[in-house]
Amino acid sequence: MASDNTALLRETRSSKKLMEQVITLGLLLCSSVAVITTVGIVASLVFEAFRFFQQVSITEFLFSPHWSPQTAIRADQVGASGAFGVLPLLTGTLLISFIAMVIAAPLGLLSAIYLSEYSSRRMRGWVKPVLELLAGIPTVVYGFFAALVVAPIIRATGSGMGFEISSESALAAGLVMGIMIVPLVSSLSDDVISAVPQSLRDASMGMGATQSETIKRVILPAALPGIAGSLLLATSRAIGETMIVVMAAGLAAKLTLNPLDAVTTMTVQIVTLLTGDTSFDDAKTLAAFAIALFLFIVTLILNVIALKIVDKFKEAYD
């Protein structure tokens, strides 16, 4: 009997062990979905972009200052080939992101400083959820507000002061996008500022510095790399933002840095090129994938740099 039992035990144990291995393998497969997604993104973008670059040269795409993807219906029509220079889209994207960061960086940073260094626990308890609410509102709502409320106000103010402002100005889109990003900058900077060791504050205050002097001369310089990282992350978010610009920025691809002009962005063009009827052989549709690949690479680089900086910073004070 005894030997039977041990045999049985051994058998169940080995089947149990096999089961464990199967489950572990299953779990590994699940976690590979994230990797597969990344591979899928890169593969689909690269593949379609490659087909695009068979029709349009890379140098034209990167350096030509003209963007007008309308391909003609008849072959003999004027401008039949369309122009695929990404430059005007890039300047438009950068212009709007720049306006957004001009708003978001000071507002986010100052509110983070106030919340982490000055505010009472009660005020923090009120303001933090409000900022989180700002972060939780869908971008389509911001887009609606930018297009139907902010843009007309800016236009009216401009014409009151004698400026000619287009109804789809970069300013309106950038302004609203800036507000949208404030919570992101604020929460990331808040983390970074809180990570600066208390001993630095105590030392500075002990030397007789006021609180604002401590913040400006000690804490901010110490937190600078982390803050730079959070601003980079926010910029990458602004560059990839879609709905606000689709609804509030224009379609005109102009090579301009004037914030009162209508500009278009990479994301706007992706949406315009791919909504509606899409056939998968013409340069117009494939161009969207080339832009997206460009967008993906730019945001990826920004993110990787930002995450590296923030990690380094956190390690330094651990």
Partner: protein, 436 residues
């Protein structure tokens, strides 16, 4: 302290109570800096408040609508000339003469084709379907005269809501002087009432603002979220379990981690392109459906769920695992019988927050074609559909003035759902979270 000061008075600097110009300057700089922070927060809060206020004030009107009461004679000659009372024949009958007849009772002196047509336009074009439904549901009303409250037409609605400026020049106005006169006549005769706009919650999209509703978009969002949950929740939790409990720290797991962190920061529109290129073009899944929408949203919410689930697993103390091991449990048993159940509240909270993000997502859905004009309310995950944020985008783009109010109203509904989901997450966290 006191001793020290009295024994060495010479070491004291100038009297602290004297405010030297330098110290006044420093104190002012301090106050100013503090003020900057308050102003920054104030701007953000003021923006949020003005945005919400504009939307709530602008959208409130869409929840009520004007109804016109007509004494409709359900004329047998028109509805059922054969007298067979065949329910199938009630469909497809032209009910318009019933309405024009009822209007002629109120306005006996309006004659001529053009004028009667103008009069008919005060009523919603959907009114005929209302009569059709009434007859189909209850054929006994044929031959009787009933007071029926039908929806007012688009412009009538705007006029009654005070949205048409009477000072505007005639030719720019949606309604002529005579038409507004008719509306006033109806109003003074008690033929107008304000009612809750039920069609806003029960209809799909429409070209006419007074007939358009959000039910189609809501169902589209609902089905997408179901698909998203079914895919993202198990995958996210199991990935977190693997990375937290099973994986050894090596190159492979590092690579997976970097991947997850980067996926969280990829622009949402890129996920839409992934869906378009892979799900639609390679796998040939049906375009414009919640199935594909939910799959794309699932990939987007995956990082959120994984990160939250890992934090929840990490919060379970090692003593729980050690106790299980001590009693002879295997790794799998320990994890799935003890660690995961204990971490479940945190995982669910993270999942709900991820789903709330997915509910508000618009851009990737535009890429996979969930942006069409769809009247029918979807009934399954493979029906063509839009989603609530996409509907908002479509209505915001519509130049018709009546849709502006509807857009704000749809935003209100969306925000209510988001608040409810976040509230649920907070309650879940408070109720079920265990402190170790």
């Amino acid at each position: 302290m006191t001793d020290l000061i009295t024994s060495e008075p010479a070491a004291m600097p100038a009297d602290w109570t004297v405010r030297s110009p330098h110290r006044i300057k420093r104190a002012r700089a301090e106050t100013r800096f503090r003020l900057y922070g308050i102003v920054a927060i104030g701007i953000a809060v003021a923006f949020l408040a003005s945005m919400l206020l504009t939307i709530f004030i602008g959208g409130a009107g869409a929840f009520t609508t004007s109804k016109i009461g007509l004494d409709v004679t359900f004329n047998e000659q028109v509805i059922d000339p054969s007298g067979a009372r065949d329910p199938a024949s009630f469909r497809g009958v032209n009910y318009r003469p019933l309405i024009t007849g009822a209007l002629a009772e109120v306005f006996p002196d309006v004659e001529g084709r053009q004028d009667t047509r103008a009069l008919y336009k005060l009523i919603s074009t959907g009114a005929v379907y209302q009569l059709e439904n009434m007859v189909t549901e209850n054929p006994d009303i044929i031959g009787t005269t009933q007071r029926v409250w039908v929806s007012a037409g688009t412009d009538t609605n705007l006029y009654l809501a005070g949205k048409i400026d009477p000072d505007m020049p005639q030719e720019l106005r949606q309604l002529t002087e005579r038409e507004t006169g008719w509306i006033e006549t109806l109003k003074s005769a008690g033929h107008v009432k304000t009612d809750i706009n039920t069609s806003f919650f029960t209809n799909g999209d429409s070209r006419e603002p007074e007939q358009a509703g959000i039910l189609g978009a809501l169902m589209g969002s609902f089905f997408s979220l179901i698909v998203c949950f079914v895919i993202a929740f198990p995958l996210g939790v199991l990935t977190a379990v693997y990375l937290e409990e099973f994986a050894r720290k090596n190159r492979l797991t590092d690579f997976i981690e970097v991947n997850i962190n980067n996926l969280a920061a990829v622009p949402s529109i890129v996920f839409g392109l992934l869906g378009l290129a892979i799900f639609l073009n390679v796998f040939n899944l049906p375009r414009s459906t919640p199935l594909v929408g939910g799959m794309v949203l699932a990939l987007m919410t995956l990082p959120t769920i994984i990160i939250a689930s890992r934090a929840a697993l990490r919060a379970v103390p090692p003593s729980v695992r050690e106790a299980a091991y001590g009693l002879g449990a295997s790794k799998v048993q320990t994890t799935f019988h003890h660690t995961v159940p204990l971490a479940m509240p945190g995982m669910l909270t993270g999942t709900i927050i991820g789903m709330a993000q997915a509910l508000g997502e618009t851009a990737p859905l535009l890429m996979i074609g969930m942006v069409a004009f769809i009247v029918d309310v979807p009934t399954s995950v493979v029906d063509t559909a839009t989603s609530l944020p996409v509907q908002i985008f479509l209505w915001a783009d519509n130049p018709e003035i009546g849709f502006r109010e509807m857009t704000s109203a749809a935003i209100i509904v969306l925000l209510i759902f988001l608040v409810l989901m976040n509230l649920l997450a907070v309650i879940l966290r408070k109720k079920l979270e265990r402190r170790w």
